[in-house]
Amino acid sequence: MQIPIEYYLVLSAFMFSVGIVGVLTRRNAIIVFMSVELMLNSANLALVTFSSYLGDTTGQLFVFFVMAVAAAEAAVGLAIIIAIFRNKLTVNIDEINILKW
């Protein structure tokens, strides 16, 4: 018995909103970055679900691209966070606010 598609979609939507809440509430830059990755993965989940239900491979193909991009983003993001840390000895987003108004 095939699991109806809505279950997966609800799961991915839930994961997506968890990611959003993570971005909004957490202070640490790395945690924020992880929650963004979480959002991306929830999108991957949705893509895979659609691809399997539609019996069409483009969705899965797209997931590969998304994962590749996520990896690249991770590399660059962490490099930036390290640069911030080396410079200001903190990764807490609230303290990174020289540029304002």
Partner: protein
């Protein structure tokens, strides 16, 4: 893959760019004085790609298994991106020396970001759009923080990275939903299915999320918060890159993917979204710009309000509107590049001379620069006979043609407010005297870049027909 030689010629600009990037990496690896060679090499690459695409604007075709379209509007965008990038490199030749950040990678990153833009502009498939967008964004995140020593730059790149990735999350989720409902990621198939899908809420949410992803990129009102900080933090030439061709590429992607959506019967669907965004960005941009004391931050807010004007063109949803948007992007690119070019020339060592009052009395001390900057300021304010005016005029025609008179009136209210803060710079330069002397670097290439862009602005102002006919011919 390449089913015939003609297809190869069509995608030659992208090939030139790709080859350029690889060659630059080799140059960076093997030659010692790569810092002085690379800028001119990348300018050469950009110019050749730009003019080649201008020459072959006639042969429109779909290549790479209808992943990418070439010719027509795409080539025009290619031309804008490459000329803009060439000017950025020209401006940053001496600028990078001033800040000690003239590593070779700076230019490689610019070249790869332009490659990403070109992919986005010509995309016929959401794959290509996502891919192009990500290539560009990642290069931008790094370019923002190129000057590691400067605290502001790093902060800017962090903010840009976090919020950029956040927006990409929405984009991908949007694409997923669209793919789910339309069973394909190719834009043509999706547009053909618009009619029956217009009732499907999942599809509409998908399109909305996709649009939100890009609204972040073009800095429309609710998603603009990152712009002032990133533009102020990152090096001036890079800010020029972000605000001009970075924004233009985002618009190009929206046009590539969603024009069918905006015109057709669906205009009423997303019209409210676009016009609300346009109104808020215009008014917010110009009102807050008045209170700014740093010139880069002021220009950041002015770029937000210009995004609003371009959105008016999009909201009109007609081919005339799209032509208006393309023309506006071209003019806006050259205006902003000239403005940021002049600021980069005047900028002292560590962020000196960025305060607006440092510009007072410039008229008497350096008349040429002052004249160029005031020309640009008048053009940004949209005063004839400069290009800024014609761009706004054309966009307003498109808006009124599709009945958005009230939007145009709000448009002129915001441009009236913007006249004040653009004029404040001119007032400071010519009407006020300044006691203390400010030092600024003499840089031939920087000046050349500025002069070229100002000439382009004046040219487009006096003969708008030259570019406009081209755009309309290949709508």
């Amino acid at each position: 893959m390449l089913n015939n030689i003609q297809e190869f010629y069509n995608i030659l600009p992208i090939v030139i760019l790709g080859g350029g990037i690889i060659l630059s990496v080799f140059i960076e690896l093997y030659s010692q004085k790569s810092e002085s060679v690379l800028p001119w090499f990348s300018i050469l690459i950009f110019l050749s790609a730009g003019f080649y695409s201008l020459l072959t604007v006639a042969n429109e075709s779909i290549v790479l298994q209808n992943m990418l379209s070439t010719g027509g509007r795409t080539n025009i965008f290619y031309f804008i991106f490459n000329i803009g990038a060439a000017l950025v490199c020209l401006l940053s030749v001496d600028y990078t020396k001033k800040y000690g950040m003239n590593y070779g990678e700076y230019y490689i990153l610019i070249q790869s970001s332009v490659l990403g833009m070109m992919l986005m502009a010509g995309a016929k498939d959401f794959f290509m759009i996502f891919l192009g967008l990500e290539i560009m964004s990642i290069c931008f995140y790094v370019l923002a923080g190129v000057n590691r020593k400067k605290e502001k730059a790093i902060e800017a790149s962090l903010k840009y990275f976090l919020l950029g990735a956040f927006a990409t999350g929405f984009l991908v989720y949007g694409i997923a939903l669209i793919y789910g409902t339309a069973q394909s990621t190719s834009i043509d198939i999706i547009t053909s299915k618009f009619t029956e899908l217009s009732g499907n809420i999942i599809f509409l949410v998908g399109v909305l999320l996709f649009l939100i992803g890009f609204s972040f990129k073009i800095a429309a009102f609710p998603f603009h918060m990152w712009v002032p900080d990133v533009y102020q933090g990152s090096p001036t030439t890079i800010t020029g890159l972000f605000s001009t061709i970075g924004k233009a590429s985002a618009f190009a992607a929206i046009i590539a993917s969603l024009t069918a959506l905006f015109s057709g019967g669906f205009q009423s669907l997303f019209l409210p979204y676009l016009s609300v965004l346009a109104v808020f960005s215009m008014l917010f941009g110009s009102i807050v710009a008045i209170a700014q004391s740093d010139i880069k931050r002021m220009l950041a807010y002015s770029s937000i309000s210009h995004a609003g004007y371009i959105l008016i063109g999009l909201a009109s949803g007609t081919p005339v509107g799209v032509a208006g948007v393309v023309f506006y992007l071209a003019v806006y690119t050259f205006m902003n590049l000239a403005a940021f070019g002049i600021i980069s020339l005047i900028e002292g060592e560590n962020d000196a001379n960025l305060e607006i009052d440092t510009y007072s009395g410039l008229g008497s001390r350096n008349p040429v620069l002052a004249a160029l900057l005031s020309l640009i300021m008048f053009s940004l304010a949209g005063i004839p006979p400069l290009a800024g005016f014609f761009a706004k005029y054309y966009v307003f025609i498109a808006a009124i043609k599709s009945g958005l008179t009230w939007l145009t009136i709000l448009g002129i209210v915001s441009s009236l407010i913007s006249v004040y803060f653009y004029l404040r710079i001119v007032v400071l330069m010519y009407f006020k005297e300044r006691e203390t002397e400010i030092t600024y670097s003499k840089s031939f290439s920087g000046m050349l870049g500025v002069v070229i862009s100002v000439l382009l602005v004046i040219l487009l102002g006096i003969f708008p027909g030259s570019l406009l006919d081209l755009i309309i011919a290949y709508l």
